[in-house]
Amino acid sequence: MSVVELQNVSRWYGNVVAVNDISMTLQPGVTGLLGPNGAGKTTVLHMMAGFLSPSRGTVTIDGSPTWRNPGIYRQLGLVAEKEAVHGFLTARQFVVACAKMQKLPDPAAAAQRALELVEMTSAQDRRIETFSKGMRQRTRVAAALVHEPQVLLLDEPFNGMDPRQRMHMMELLHSLGDRGHTILFSSHILEEVEQLSGLVQVIVAGRLAASGDYRRIRRLMTNRPHVFAVQSSDDRRLAVALIGEKSVSGVEIEAGGLTVRASDYGSFTRALPRIALGEGIRLRRLLPSDESLESVFSYLLEA
C-alpha cells in the first residue's frame, strides 16, 4: 500500500503559474483527477511521476521524493497522455523489454500476464505501429502494469478506446484499486470519472478546488440549494406541506412529480418522511438530482 503526497506544491513557468500551492494525499484506491483544459492536471501528474520538479513544495511516494529518483519507478507505473510507443517492436517485445528494464526475475511471464490483463494476447506478435489507437493504449497500460506497481498514474487513459475496451479498462482499474493499489487517473469526461471513482481531486486554474468523495463535496456546498426529485401519492398536497418546512427553499410542481430545493441536505432528508407520514402521503421516489459529478464540477467552476 503506497501513499502519494503533495505538500504545498507550486510549479511555474516564467511568470505563468501552472500549479498553485496544492496539497493532496492519495490513498490506495481509485481517484479521479478532474479539471478544465489548462487547469494543471498534466503538470500535477508529471510532478507525481518525477518528470517535473516542483518550483516549491514536495512530491513524495511513501516519503521518497519522485524528482531525480529513478528507484521510485519500481513502485510507480505511468501511462502518459502522449501516445508515442516504439512502433517497430511487437506488443510482446515492447512489454518484455519493459519487464527486463524493471529487472523482473521472469520478464516473459510478467509480460504475458500484463498482456492478458489488457486483453492484448491475440495481437501481441504484431508490430505496434500497425495497432489502432485503443490497442496502442492498452499496450502502454500493459507496459505500465508489467511490474505490478503500487502506484499507477494514468493521463486520459480512455482516449481512443471503444466502449467495450473502456468498460474492461474500468473493471481492471477498479480491481487494482480494490487490491490496494493507489491509482490516479485524469479525465475530462465526467461520466468516466463518475463510473470509476467516487473520489476526486478537482483542479481549477492551478489550485485544488475540492478533494474527496464528490457526493460529500456536494453536501458541503451549503450555499447552493440541494435539488431533489420527489414523487408521491399526492404531489400537490405534499408540496403544500413541504413549503412550511424551514429547510425547504422552493417547490415546483411538474408533470412527473415535484422538484424540491432544500437549503439543508440533512434537515430536509430527515423532515421529509416525517411530513409525509403526518399527511398520510406515500413517497414513491426521492432522488437527489444535482448530486451528479457534472453538477458538482460545474458548481466548483462557477465558484
Binding site: 513557468y13 501552472a18 492536471k41 529513478p70 521510485i72 508515442a84 517497430f88 517492436l89 519493459c98
Partner: protein, 236 residues
C-alpha cells in the same frame, strides 16, 4: 543496459534516417577508387579526399546523424518516457546510447576511411585513419548525444559546430582548433602514420587530452541532464 541498447539499435536501424549513412562513405570510397584506378598520384588527391571529405565531412556528419538519432528522436516523439520510467540509473541509459552511437558511427566512418587510407598510402595509413576515426566517433557521439538533451534543435547546432566552428573558424582562427574534434582526429592519424597528406594543427597531447575531455565530459554532462529530464508541461 542491454535492453536499452537493443531498443536504441532497433530504433536507429528501423528509421529511414539510417539510409543517410550510406552515401557519404560510398562517395569517399568511390572517389578514392576512381583516383586509384586512373593512377593519379596520391599526393594530388589524398589530402582532399581523406582529410577534406573523410575527416572533415564523413566522420562528423555520420556521427551527427547517429548521435542525435539515438536519443534526440526518442525525446522528440516522446518514446523516451518508456525508458525513463524504469528504475535504471541514468548513467546506464546514457552509456547504452553512447555505445550504440559510438559503435555505429565508428564502423560507418572507420571502414571507408580505412579503405581510402589503404588506397592512398597503404595499410598503415588505413589503420591510423580507422583508429583516429574511432576516437573521433566516440568524442563526436558524446557531444551530439549531449546536444540532444540541451537543445530542441541538436541537428542544427551540430551542423553549426561542424560547418562553422570546425570548417570555417578552424581554418582561419587558430585558437578555435583546440576545441575542434576534427583537428584531434587529424593529429592522431598523422602521428600514427605520417604521410604528408594530413595537416594536423594541434599537438598529440592536446589531441588526446581534449578528445578524452569531450568524450568523458560530454557523457557526464549528459548523465546529469538526463537525471533532470523534464517533460514539457502540456497542461490539459
Amino acid at each position: 543496459m542491454s535492453t536499452v541498447a537493443y531498443i536504441t539499435a532497433r530504433g536507429l536501424f528501423g528509421r529511414r534516417r539510417v539510409l543517410l549513412l550510406l552515401p557519404l562513405p560510398l562517395l569517399l570510397v568511390g572517389l578514392a577508387l576512381i583516383c586509384r584506378a586512373y593512377d593519379v598520384d596520391p599526393t594530388q588527391w589524398g589530402q582532399a579526399v581523406v582529410q577534406g571529405l573523410g575527416l572533415a565531412v564523413v566522420l562528423p556528419v555520420i556521427s551527427l546523424i547517429v548521435g542525435t538519432g539515438v536519443l534526440g528522436s526518442e525525446v522528440d516523439d516522446g518514446t523516451i518516457v518508456h525508458i525513463l520510467t524504469k528504475p535504471l540509473p541514468r548513467r546506464d541509459i546514457i552509456l547504452a546510447k553512447l555505445l550504440v552511437a559510438g559503435g555505429v558511427s565508428a564502423v560507418a566512418a572507420a571502414v571507408p576511411l580505412f579503405i581510402a587510407g589503404v588506397l592512398a598510402d597503404g595499410v598503415k595509413f588505413g589503420v591510423a585513419l580507422a583508429v583516429a576515426a574511432v576516437a573521433g566517433a566516440v568524442a563526436y557521439s558524446a557531444l551530439f548525444l549531449l546536444l540532444s538533451l540541451v537543445t530542441r534543435r541538436p541537428v542544427l547546432l551540430g551542423l553549426v559546430y561542424i560547418l562553422v566552428w570546425e570548417g570555417l573558424l578552424g581554418r582561419w582562427v587558430s585558437g578555435t582548433r583546440v576545441l575542434s574534434i576534427e583537428q584531434y582526429v587529424i593529429t592522431i592519424a598523422d602521428r600514427m602514420a605520417p604521410t604528408g597528406m594530413l595537416d594536423g594543427k594541434v599537438s598529440l597531447p592536446v589531441a588526446l587530452v581534449m578528445a578524452a575531455i569531450f568524450a568523458i565530459g560530454g557523457t557526464l554532462f549528459a548523465i546529469n541532464r538526463l537525471g533532470s529530464f523534464s517533460v514539457a508541461g502540456e497542461t490539459s
